[in-house]
Amino acid sequence: MIPEIGHFALILALCLAIAQAVFPLAGSLNNTPSWVALARPLAWGQALFLGIAIGALTYSFLVNDFSVSYVAYNSNTRLPIVYKISAVWGAHEGSLLLWAFFLGAWGAAIAIFSRHLAREVVGRVLAVMGMINIGFLLFMLITSNPFERMFPIPAEGRDLNPLLQDPGLALHPPTLYLGYVGFSVAFGFAIAALIGGRLDASWARWSRPWTTVAWVWLTLGITIGSWWAYYELGWGGWWFWDPVENASFMPWLAGTALMHSLAVTEKRGAFRSWTVMLALLAFSLSLLGTFLVRSGVLTSVHAFAADPARGLFILIFLLVVVGGSLALYAWRAPTIFGGGRFDLISRESFLLGNNLLLTVLTFLILFGTLAPLIYDAMNWGKISVGFPWFNRMFLMVTPFLAILLGFGPLMHWKRTDGAALMRKLRIAAIVSIVIGLIGFWPAISNGSLLVPLGLFLAAWLVTSLVVSIRDRLKHKRGLGGFLSDFGSSGGRSYYGMVLGHLGVAMFILGATMVSNHGIEKDVRMAPGESAEISGYRFVFDGVTRTPGPNFIANRGKFRVFRGDDEITILEPEKRTYLVQQMPMTEAAIDWGLTRDLYVSLGEDLGGGDWSMRLYYKPFVRWIWLGGLFMAFGGILAVTDPRYRSLKRKKKQEAPAGAAAPASLATENN
């Protein structure tokens, strides 16, 4: 009964989505306010029914209702409750439901937080989101219904894929999806602007917090995913340039460019058609990711069960959404062209430079991801674009990005005095070059030019931020001055930017160190033997069998010594999950800010001997700490009081980019 309610709720959500796609948009075009006014209640209704649907599926998991085939394939009576809940989005059908639910939730959030927006703008944004959800709900109901029953009813479920039975992977998909789906808001705003033909500073101001929130979720999702891969896959890597990872990284890059471009559009009214393009791009790339994961056109470790029928559906959907929006762009964007003028040495031009670099990187990754497909389709032969190619491309673009990034915060809008800028940054440049030069010292460089480069870039980012903060607090003294600045309108945006950029520096440092100084060793060890890496001695005390709730583990024990001091005990496991009979490695990690020690058990070689991998990973945590800093910076920026006092401010200041006079916010609200 409950699954049928869920199924029915999905159908109702589809009906509401159709109404939401049609009436508010039509009403905004033929001036029928009562139709436009439907947008908010419809968005509410959709979130409600999708909530009921996801609740029904969760309930089916909790009561082990194996008559629902999705539950039977992805759960088991012995599965711990947490993973019964995370199993809701553990496979194709349920993760689609989560997508649709988040889309509904974002719609409801807009309905709540858009009191200051003109009704027809809200109506159009929600109409676009309704259209997107029509696609997802149809897709689910036609090809991938999570509520489908099966008969005969199995007595026991097949259990959740053991790889997914992990807190990291319980969290990774929802955060990532919140990010993907969140870009649909910026997309909706962009489409609304293209339809309305009005694209000005207040448009950018409305889009900004939504874009930043989506970007924060995506940042967290990618960070968690990378962290999970590191400790769960058992070989210590943190990024693989897998097509599906790229599918999340591309919208992140486009979203990063969009956030910065929106700042320029808001403050200076410039880059308008460019900003709109990025908003379309960020969401289109999110959709493309969905296509790549679920259609099976590329091989990937993450792929869901490939099914050409599903692939074809998503492709048609992609054509309608992306093709339609780009056609609308081609038609309408020429009329919204224009914006403030600026000099070559100005914050605008540096942000534009950064945006271009981010976009170039996005397209390089897009090309690398699709190249095997393109080559194959053109009969140019089979190629595999691997790790080295992506690394090379990434390293070609990012140093320039980091250098520009150091200048950006110190630049003024419109025009900057180049000589004054150089004076301000002189010491920062000298300090970072010296640090870079120290990096050439063999013990530090470890024979790689990337170490001095990485150290230089990280130092440059940090020192230029210090200069920027000093510059900002020039007339304020002490902690009190800082706190008053922090609390001021625009203060948190600024310090959010500082944290975000600091996160980039931390990422660069972590990635540089772990890539060039990491040590890994494959060894065969008998109980009592020891192995040494980087001054740490690992003493192997043998393996014991330990039962878990739904698995049996072989648990190894290592005592780790530095000199004569025992610093920790590591207990990596090799688990066999009972239902799927799938062995899993659980690495044991002693983590620290300057290094991780990482042990993963390999194979039982007989007679108590085991093969194992020992890793020394310097500064690897900084990679994810950097991600967290970026996300936290984003959160700080969104909570800036200036977004809360929009109404007041709107009356005080004329839109900075005065080219388009009327603001989106009209008297209607």
Binding site: V297, A306, F337, L373, D376, S384
Partner: protein, 180 residues
């Protein structure tokens, strides 16, 4: 280029990409070469099909060029491939080892009795774990591994006579040249 046509560029780029994606739906992505090429083959130590109390490990094969063929009795394409492998085995150019993937022992033994046994030995991967380590996407797949235990070639899908001439022999010749 007029300023209006400029705005059509993104649409065109997207449509071209969509064309490739459409074609991609009807191609088999499994034929993309493995990322494991030129990487050490994963470690394994698995029981033999005909003598389950004995095992064969990767280390046992060190020092010679060998071919790993992943097969299963439930796999239709393997049946077509099997005659080709029998012929390859008779050519005495490489030792072929079978990896019996997620199969039943009785079925697998029956298969070899009925269709001939091209393998020097067949190891049993009933859980599919070693297959996953090798990045096996579908069955059959074949790998050529050199004396250092490094994967040098991967073939996805059934090997046919043409593949032997065009792909497998050249790889083997190259590897033999390298060891001399």
């Amino acid at each position: 280029m007029s300023s209006r046509t400029r705005y059509l560029i993104p649409l065109f780029v997207f449509l071209i990409m969509a064309g490739f994606l459409l074609k991609g739906l009807f191609m088999d992505p499994k034929f993309i070469p493995s990322v494991l090429i030129d990487k050490p083959a994963p470690e394994f130590d698995l029981p033999l099909l005909d003598k389950p109390d004995q095992t064969l490990a990767k280390a046992d094969l060190k020092g010679k060029v060998w071919m790993l063929n992943v097969w299963a009795s439930w796999c239709v394409a393997c049946r077509a491939e099997h005659q080709v492998l029998n012929k390859l085995a008779r050519m005495n150019v490489v030792d072929i080892y079978g990896l019996n993937y997620k199969d039943k022992r009785g079925d697998a033994l029956n298969w070899l009795r009925n269709l001939g046994n091209p393998y020097v030995a067949t190891i049993v991967d009933s859980s599919g774990r070693t297959g996953i380590d090798f990045g096996v996407y579908g069955v059959p797949e074949s790998f050529i591994i050199d004396a250092e235990g490094v994967i040098r070639y991967k073939h996805t899908g059934p090997v046919n006579y043409e593949d032997i001439q065009a792909k497998i022999l050249p790889v083997l010749n190259e590897l033999k040249g390298a060891t001399k």
